[in-house]
Symmetry: C2
């Protein structure tokens, strides 16, 4: 399958121009970002170096022109080969002044008109620098205000371009192939941990760059947990194996799960699978431009309720997918986000169908003009027996 | 090679007791943590769910007794099977009150004596919750102070137990084997990206759980960059391939690199390799209980200076290794940390030996009573030719 890495500079220029438009509407002189995904989104910069918690990195979008990188010296070359021109360095590590003075000086030079800097401070964001340095930065900025810019980055990142959608499609197809192959990987007596390790290798061998999110849990009739680490108990007949995969290529994720019954499936399992399958269909059908996130949730909740399901502990029935495995919006009763063409969603109904047993299904779709288009190969209508 | 996962409860009890001792000395009623590594360290809780930025998680160490988890409902089962007893849940996602009220109520119930809660706010830490929620939490806590607890968690995590050292030893040995095998993986005409993908698979097949940090860069005579993503240029004769690996098993990392010359090595490469190799020896020899981090740095800097090296852009010559690939302390001129038995260090001298060309070496050691013991298999004294 052909796959094109990266983006033309025009794509980054569009992202920056859109951000600058929203920034001006919000009376902000600049936007300040410090997390991996914003560096990827606006600068095209990718590195595993984000794994190291030692050094903060800062990216600034001024009101006009290209982003400015304010980064530790170790990143100099990596940023110089990006499309940015203005890369400002401090010698790091320097715990006594870990970039704070250089960052504050840069921001003060930009915050002339509104004296306001936009920073994501809302749901699903955090400031990636020490709390003491947040205090020092605010002090250095004096009367310049730091205002919440969550809505700006959220509205931009929720809607994907054709090139971004192509990357999602690629990773969803690749993991769909891996799920179709699971019968060749899982053999009698394997544990959750062994299955996870073998399955991870298979996904990587098929071409995923990394598999940062991967769950493999099993219990009689249905899984007991959607997020825990695997254990070493060998699977036995009647167990339902739950696998959830957040694999990534060129920065873009899939996030979808599958269920498999070992040797045989109980009637309880079959009923739960069927109801959740139909709820997924309803969620996919409801995910159209103009519908709200809560409408999609309601469509799934109605199907589950028709089967007597009371909901479960996962807390929502889907979410956005992008540069993270989970992003805004949330498919839940209180999320009024209006769906738009180009959004990528995980449609993820689930419920606790017996004490300590849950059934979760998940597909990824892109919202098109006429409704949702599947990016994943739809799960089988009946639970596969391994 | 035999490998034991997890820890007996006694290990967690010791960690908590040590933290509580330091907490009382610092007049703190409780410690508040919210990042993955502290959940692993004190609760033994591991999950890939940290990949999802949607929900914060909170772990509280009271002055006495077991830690208290204040977590989103999706984590209930995973924490209930841990050694903790007190698991408090909120229905999440709930952007209007993402755990803040429950967390504040819990802290208020504990902060009776000193009215001070310790939170890591210093170097290499950050608060993993939205900045708006930090403000809301402080408001809800009223006159209860949040004080910096970086020194407490830093002093605990820097010194490893025998069981922790065994995990480091295991992953260092496994990656040493992978480096020894690199000649069987790299073939003529492969690109950095292809080498990285093949090498990652090899490390996983040898038994690493994950390889979150992996770098594969190459250029004529020496690498041009220690952190950038790989590109698609086929390697040619005279290129030096630099590979750096932060692989992990059961939560514990190795972090060390190797250099390989394609077909032939220039005299400049050989000289740079030799000088850096001798600097590494000097660093290992200097890493003894009672020496300071800056002393180890000085020993390496002296060797490099004797060869005319001016230093480079990486900013330090080593660091701690543990539940992250890089941790406190930093081997640099300004770090006065006194080395203790049980510390794991990356000894990592490097320098820019030609314009745009760097040479970096790295080994992992544990500080024993009599000095540093290698956890990695020492790199060859001459650069291997592939």
């Amino acid at each position: 399958m052909s796959f094109t890495r990266g983006f033309p500079v025009a794509e980054f220029e569009t992202r920056v121009a859109n951000a600058q438009h929203l920034m001006r509407q919000a009376d902000m002189d600049a936007l300040l970002f410090m997390t991996e995904r914003e560096f990827t989104y606006f600068a095209g910069f990718q590195s595993n170096f984000w794994q190291s918690p030692t050094r903060p990195w800062f990216l600034i979008l001024p009101a006009e022109g290209k982003p400015i990188a304010v980064i530790p010296s170790i990143g100099e070359n990596a940023l110089r080969i990006s499309w940015l021109d203005d890369v400002r360095l401090w010698a790091s590590p320097n715990p006594a002044d870990e970039g704070v003075s250089l960052l504050a000086d840069t921001l003060k030079g930009l915050a002339k008109r509104y004296r306001r800097i936009g920073v994501p401070m809302g749901p699903e964001t955090h400031l990636r620098l020490p709390a003491n340095d947040v205090v020092a930065l605010k002090a250095a900025l004096g009367s310049i205000e730091m205002a919440d810019a969550t809505d700006i980055i959220r509205s931009l990142r929720m809607v994907k371009s054709e090139r971004e959608i192509a990357k999602h499609k690629h990773i969803c197809g690749l993991v769909s192939d891996a799920y179709a192959n699971i019968g060749n990987i899982v053999t009698a007596g394997m544990s959750e941990r062994q299955i996870l390790a073998a399955y991870r290798l298979d996904v990587l061998q098929r071409g995923a760059d990394t598999v940062p999110y991967i769950v493999s849990t099993a219990a009689q009739d249905g899984t007991d947990d959607a997020i825990r680490f695997p254990n070493d108990r060998p699977l036995v007949a009647g167990d339902v194996l739950f696998i959830d995969t957040g694999a990534e290529i060129d920065g873009y994720y899939c996030d979808f799960d599958r269920n498999f019954a070992m040797n045989r499936a109980s009637d309880a399992t079959k009923r739960a699978y069927d109801l959740t399958y139909r709820a997924t269909d309803a969620g996919i059908a409801a995910a159209r431009p103009g519908a709200r996130a809560c409408d999609v949730w309601q469509a799934m909740a109605d199907v589950l309720a028709s089967g007597g399901a009371q909901g479960g502990g996962v807390g929502r029935m889907g979410h956005g997918v992008g540069l993270h495995n989970t992003e805004w919006p949330s498919l839940m009763a209180t999320d009024q986000t209006v769906l738009q063409e180009g959004m990528i969603l995980a449609i993820e109904p689930g419920y606790d169908f017996a004490p300590g047993r849950m059934m979760l299904h998940e597909e990824n779709v892109v919202i098109g003009a006429d409704g949702a288009e599947l990016l994943t190969r739809r799960a089988p209508a009946d639970i596969p027996i391994l």
